[in-house]
């Protein structure tokens, strides 16, 4: 049983030229295909016709590298909970459906080409303070400092972030609060991260603002689309850490 679909895909040659939605027919699509495999099929047809295929990012195709991501019918990564778009399967759609596919949109994520956007702003937020300053060779024994299991698990929940940018894409303000909060939470919760706790929160929030992301409106769209289901309670923690660092800590 195969499906025929109509795709409306954002095509944009480069950052400088305006883009538009272009309609393509996707025919003979198997429900067992992943969404990106369906795009592969469409691209194969374009290449055979000598046309430029649709540029989209993807790598591991199992939902962990965070490379892929686009808006599928107005929702980041498509309709499935806790999944990246590479984990979305075509059985989720019906024969005859029209699917609109757009890139992440944010001033801080300029479109590079078609569905590919530049997410290096997220790397720069990490660079600003998303680390524990510890040189190779200086580490004490791994079991020298016990970490309560609950704390370690909470830190892990935040550390599960795959830096895909869906939170920014879904947010009506293009805010990177969930991403930044997850990174701050991961390190600020752990005892190893305490020494730089305040500096980290301030430096990362600063960088987030410099990049031109919007402010958080606490709608939780980010949490809803997050492939790793990272909770917006991390944003509350980021706010606390920031407040504490700016007003109390020295």
């Amino acid at each position: 049983m195969s499906m025929n679909l109509t795709l409306r895909i954002w095509r944009q040659a480069n950052p400088g030229t305006p883009g538009r939605l272009v309609e393509y027919a996707a025919q003979g699509i198997s429900p067992d295909m992943s969404f990106l495999e369906m795009l592969d099929v469409v691209n194969e047809q374009l290449i055979r016709k000598g046309e430029e295929p649709v540029a989209f990012d993807s790598d591991c195709r199992e939902g962990i590298c965070g490379t892929c991501g686009c808006m599928v019918n107005g929702v980041a990564h498509g309709p499935d909970a806790a999944a990246t778009v590479c984990q979305l399967h075509m059985r989720r759609f019906k024969n005859g459906d029209t699917i609109t596919i757009e890139p992440w949109r944010a001033a801080a994520f300029p479109v590079v080409k078609d569905l590919v956007v530049d997410r290096s702003a997220l790397d720069r937020i990490v660079r600003a303070g998303g680390y524990i300053s510890m040189n190779v060779g200086a580490a004490p024994d791994a079991n020298a400092m016990p970490v309560a299991k609950g704390l370690a698990d909470e830190a892990f929940d935040a550390a599960a972030c795959i830096q895909c940018g869906a939170c920014v894409a879904a947010c009506k303000n293009a805010s990177a609060a969930l991403f930044t909060a997850a990174k701050i939470s991961h390190l600020n919760l752990l005892p190893q991260g305490q020494a730089e706790r305040g500096r980290r929160a301030v430096a990362m929030v600063d960088q987030m603002d410099v990049e031109g992301f919007g402010a958080c409106s606490n709608e939780g769209e980010c949490e809803a689309v997050c492939p790793k289901e990272i909770s917006i309670s991390n944003i509350a923690r980021m706010n606390r850490e920031y407040l504490r660092a700016r007003l109390v800590a020295r």
Binding site: N14, S30, D32, M33, S34, E37, M38, D40, V41, N43, E44, L46, I47, R48, G50, E52, P53, A55, D57, S58, D59, C60, R61, E62, I64, C65, G66, T67, D80, H89, R91, V112, K113, R119, L122, D123, R127, G130, Y131, I132, V136, G137, A139, P140, A142, N143, M145, P146, V147, A148, K149, A152, A155, F156, A159, A160, I162, H186, L190, Q192
Partner: protein
Amino acid sequence: MQLDGKVPGGPIESRWERHKFESKLVNPANRRKLTVLVIGTGLAGASASAALGELGYNVLTFCIHDSPRRAHSIAAQGGINAAKNYRNDGDSVYRLFYDTVKGGDYRARESNVYRLAQVSADIIDQCVAQGVPFAREYGGLLDNRSFGGAQVSRTFYARGQTGQQLLIGAYQSMMRQVDAGTVKLFPQREMLDVVMVEGQARGVIMRNLVTGELEKWAGDAVLLATGGYGTVYYLSTNAVNSNVTAAWRAHKRGALFANPCFTQIHPTCIPVSGDHQSKLTLMSESLRNDGRVWVPKDARDPRPPQQIPEPERDYYLERRYPSFGNLVPRDVASRAAKLVCDEGLGVGDTGLAVYLDFADSIGRLGKDVIKQRYGNLFDMYQKITDDNPYQVPMRIFPAVHYTMGGLWVDYNLMSTIPGLHVLGEANFSDHGANRLGASALMQGLADGYFVIPNTLSHYLAGTSLPKVTAEHDAFAEAASNAQGQITRLLTVRGQKTPRELHRQLGRLVWDYVGMSRTAEGLRTALTEIPRLREEFWHNVSVPGEANNMNKNLEYAGRVADYLEFAELLARDALEREESCGGHFREEFQTPDNEAQRDDLQFAHAAAWEFTGVGQAPVRHVEPLQFDYVKPSQRSYK
């Protein structure tokens, strides 16, 4: 050519310490004047960049991804081994060393493996201090588990995403150095050539994948950490952008390529569902702890698996390997699955799958326990296949997962090109002919954090490195060479897509250089691969231009390299007339179908020298000596 592994002498326990002491050091004030080019930001590349940046070198780091944190190390699920002996269960550096040499079927260098086992404990310390959230017990100390049939619990893990957590740790350390200014990061860059000046690796040609520009970068040493070549099979558990291009181009410049035939096929992957498939998804090996593998005894049994009664099922692993049962090592389990499918007993639409059944475990332990142990894996399986593994057995099939072969390196991780160092999966590695579970992460981080910072200083301090800039003629030559291939790809304007040709190559390599190989099949591959290569260069279609982002062009370039590399893979498999680890030759097996090693003739690493495309490469040999772990036949009966 005489291959000198530069292995230090003396008792194995003190070799690394002595070697470090005897290595030359670079004065701290001079380090920033030395430029190190690091290609790749997986565990090996990111950790090396961080460590070298901390030492004060001028590090330039490149990756093909839009962010260095996306390298495929991120996908490793299971864990990382370390000889910590936190369990008091008899583990030690020596035991990890012993297990790794034996698990690699005696085709690895003892000194390297011992060093790996030695630094394994430091890796865990390093990662915990970086904030890697390893699994912990209620007491707050680190949890361990036994993995891949090991008899001790030495595997540290972070839920099902150990690779991602370790990579984030290395990435964050590297970003700290970027912030400090010692590391400069260049994402979206693909290495197209190593630039040689007076016999030394002194630079690289990188293609900027956004602008299409060819960039020339000069330096004092080059570190390749670009991963394995598993995607030569088209379908594998590797990421779709994983490729052999950087390693292959270095090989064409003179770096020998060792043991390419050692490829690891992982037994528990989700089977292929159709031609459209772009990759295969690995299901953690831990599933075999509670799942039973079987096929119907009747090849044409039309019934759904739940309705097939016990006596009509063949639990072939339990039957053939009564003592290890479903927990035999990866290579053995994979081959056994292939064998039953070859006999026509495979299940599913394609006949290329076996059942992994949890009904017994669910009956014995209850659904909740199984859910607790494997819930996320079961969810992932259901998401992909639309089957509920709590009710129907999973269908699994082996898939290419890891490649033990790679560029030949000495004890210092330097290839046969002076100055060109190779780290992680890209080198021919410490895993011999077969890698044990949870050892890949260990090796990548060992190379990057602990080995290369020491051995690179020895090279830099002890080598005359005249000043070289990117204006040197060698850069222009290499760049025009790279440009030539790009132009050629764009001008073919044929009918087939790079993916179609890649799929064809993958089918060919899987059929003839896959889990089970014969001289005849390998010879077929050696005639078919050049033919396909010929077709590629006459019939590939690459629309678009070279001066902007053109993913299809990148892909075509990688497929072109695979079409050359595949020939070497088949040739190495043909010349290695024995079965060991991931290399199984049907001619060389025991009467009960187990691998038969030939230690007299093949206890060596085969390192190949490039002589030209389509020309027979030259096979060099580095004999392997086993002074500590005496080779014996592996048996899991």
